[in-house]
């Protein structure tokens, strides 16, 4: 599976019958440090993710399996919404040395030995660092998820209802 961020939505009335009722999101693939990598793509959604949320998606035939019993013709589907990412060692440093100082700047930069987490807050996701190997998940992971819910309203309803969105922000293409 791969990490990504929801950056938009797509609507299409004329489409293959197997895609009826499916929600389509524009996803920007990310590295675990939340850097953009690669081109944006269109994913079906099985989670009700909202704008700006960090998600993980699956590629290939498994993307159709995510939406059983429906069998949509899809090769990428969002299958989870990320609460926390723990990266105790800097990726790319195979020796396992702690590389907190080489990580991209984030809210927790400079906190040595402090346990921070990527939490979904009302201000949006924050980058995560932790100086402890094998750190436990943040104890307030669940409340953070609740905050994230308020900040990014989900749309679990079938896209039939959201065909004409009443609220639009950002660019229309």
């Amino acid at each position: 599976m791969y990490l990504g961020r929801v950056v938009g939505r797509v609507w299409a009335t004329a489409k293959n019958a197997s895609l009826e009722g499916q929600r389509m999101l524009v996803i920007q693939p990310l590295t675990p440090e939340l850097r953009s990598t690669g081109k944006p793509l269109i994913c079906l959604d099985s989670t009700g993710a909202g704008a700006g949320e960090i998600i993980y998606w699956v590629r290939g035939r498994e993307a159709s399996i995510a939406l059983l019993p429906a069998e949509p013709a899809a090769d990428t589907t969002v299958v989870g919404i990320v609460d926390t990412i723990h990266l105790p060692t800097a990726p790319g440093v195979g020796t396992g040395e702690k590389g907190a100082e080489s990580r991209p700047a984030g809210a927790a930069a400079g906190e040595t030995g402090a346990q921070a987490a990527l939490e979904r807050t009302e201000a949006g996701p924050r980058i995560a660092q932790t100086g402890e190997a094998g750190a436990q998940s943040a104890p307030d992971g669940v409340p953070a998820a609740t905050n994230g819910t308020q900040a990014a309203p989900k749309d679990p309803a079938a896209p039939g209802a959201s065909r004409t969105p009443t609220h639009r922000k950002g660019r229309r293409c």
Binding site: M1, I85, T89
Partner: protein
């Protein structure tokens, strides 16, 4: 399959039900010389791997699903073993 190093863990409360009960690991695929091969990806853990372990990752869906024992689930990558040792013929980079 690929050789990779486990570099982190991911927590997601809202996810596909077939991902419950297993760890979601952030793994960095490696080249044969130990350098990074592309970006790190997310794999479901089938063998209880921890951060820092060098592991074998299945990158094809059917193999990943059967490794974690969950057929018909949207899993396209899974950690399926630990690497003890790699032997390369001389001249292979």
């Amino acid at each position: 399959m690929l050789i990779a190093r486990v570099v982190g863990e991911l927590v997601a409360t809202q996810k596909h039900p077939s991902h419950e009960g297993r760890k979601l690991l952030v793994v960095q695929p490696l080249n044969l010389d130990g350098s990074n091969r592309g970006d790190a990806v997310i794999a479901l853990d089938a063998v209880d791997a921890g951060v820092g372990d060098r592991v074998l990752v299945a990158t094809e869906g059917f193999s990943a699903m059967t490794a974690v024992g969950r057929p018909n689930s949207p899993i396209d990558m899974a950690v399926i073993g630990f690497i003890d040792h790699i032997d390369l013929m001389p001249g292979v980079s």
